[in-house]
């Protein structure tokens, strides 16, 4: 449990994902937001974490290659003919 009075920047950065995931308890959430309201460094840190999530979200998922798709569909047809 975090002491409301003494939540340091170094402690806060370790709670950012819990915060963004909505996993902080009421008391920790109060300490977190209280600290944030008064700290430019941590506000910027959270902004950068949000930015990171946003930019990661623009990456392209691995799509199925044509060769893999052909092989997987063939497997399905074989299975249909003689289901194991």
């Amino acid at each position: 449990m975090i002491d409301t009075e003494a939540l340091s920047c170094q402690e806060l950065v370790e709670l950012v994902t819990d915060y963004l995931e909505g996993a902080l308890g009421e008391r920790d959430l109060r300490a977190f937001e209280g600290h944030l309201a008064d700290c430019d460094g941590c506000t910027e840190y959270i902004d950068q974490m949000r930015t990171t999530i946003r930019v990661v979200g623009t990456l392209t998922p691995n799509d199925l290659t044509q060769a893999a798709e052909t092989a997987l569909l063939q497997a399905f047809r074989d299975w249909k003919r003689s289901p194991s």
């Binding site: 840190y45 990456l59 392209t60 299975w79």
Partner: protein, 233 residues
């Protein structure tokens, strides 16, 4: 059968989880299982495409290369088809398929004499890892702000964030992550899966899923800052 389904690389981002506009993903699990058992190739092709990226990313945790991961995914679908009649619906089909994938990948790793990063996946908290270099904070005995920022992050130049090179930096940073962190951040933030879906696919506790996600995001953020910081200073 002709391929009539659109295959945009961006679709998954807009269709996280199970809410899709594609036929197979709008089916209920029971309908999907029935369609597969009945030999409905369109339903099968759809689900194979929809889950492929996630399957590959999980397979990569246990495999030394992308090529081996592709083979594990292929083998997984063969096993899924072989076992489909025994699927009882106690978990979702997706969860069941991912469990088969993990078992397939582990079996293969054992056969090939490779060690598997079990502990990395299930005991991530055992090895501490700071989100930010401790050197950037003031010492614990600082009179006014112990543990406060000594070297705080500075605003990143927005216009460079969307540049192609920045995305390459991020791609490389993700590629360099430990496999379990890479899988979690990829599934959550690239594929748009929910934490519950990731937990089920990887058989992870809620806390461990979050620890892995936190570390992965923290490392990628650091890579982003390292890349853009010279411009700021």
């Amino acid at each position: 059968m002709p391929n009539t389904l659109p295959l945009g690389p961006r679709r998954r981002r807009f269709l996280p989880g199970i809410n899709g506009t594609f036929a197979a993903v709008t089916l209920t699990d029971a309908e999907l299982v029935a369609a597969l058992r009945a030999g409905d190739e369109a339903a099968y092709a759809n689900v194979v495409r929809e889950w492929h990226s996630g399957l590959l990313r999980v397979a990569r945790i246990f495999t030394p290369s992308h090529a081996v991961a592709e083979e594990v995914v292929q083998e997984t679908w063969l096993r899924v088809l072989g076992a489909l009649d025994r699927f009882e619906g106690r978990s979702s089909l997706k969860t069941w398929v991912f469990r088969i994938l993990v078992n397939t990948a582990k079996t293969r790793a054992q056969r090939e004499g490779r060690t598997i990063p079990f502990s990395a996946l299930h005991e991530p908290a055992r090895v501490p890892e700071a989100a930010v270099d401790p050197e950037r904070f003031l010492p614990d005995d600082h009179p006014h702000r112990p543990g406060g920022w000594g070297s705080p992050p500075r605003e990143l130049p927005e216009e460079r964030l969307i540049a192609g090179e920045t995305r390459e930096v991020i791609e490389r940073a993700i590629e360099a992550l430990p496999a379990s962190q890479r899988a979690v951040i990829s599934m959550r933030d690239v594929e748009g899966w929910s934490s519950e879906e990731v937990r089920n696919a990887l058989d992870l506790s809620e806390v461990n899923q979050r620890v892995l996600l936190h570390r992965a995001r923290a490392r990628v953020r650091q890579a982003l800052e390292d890349y853009l910081a010279p411009e700021i200073a």
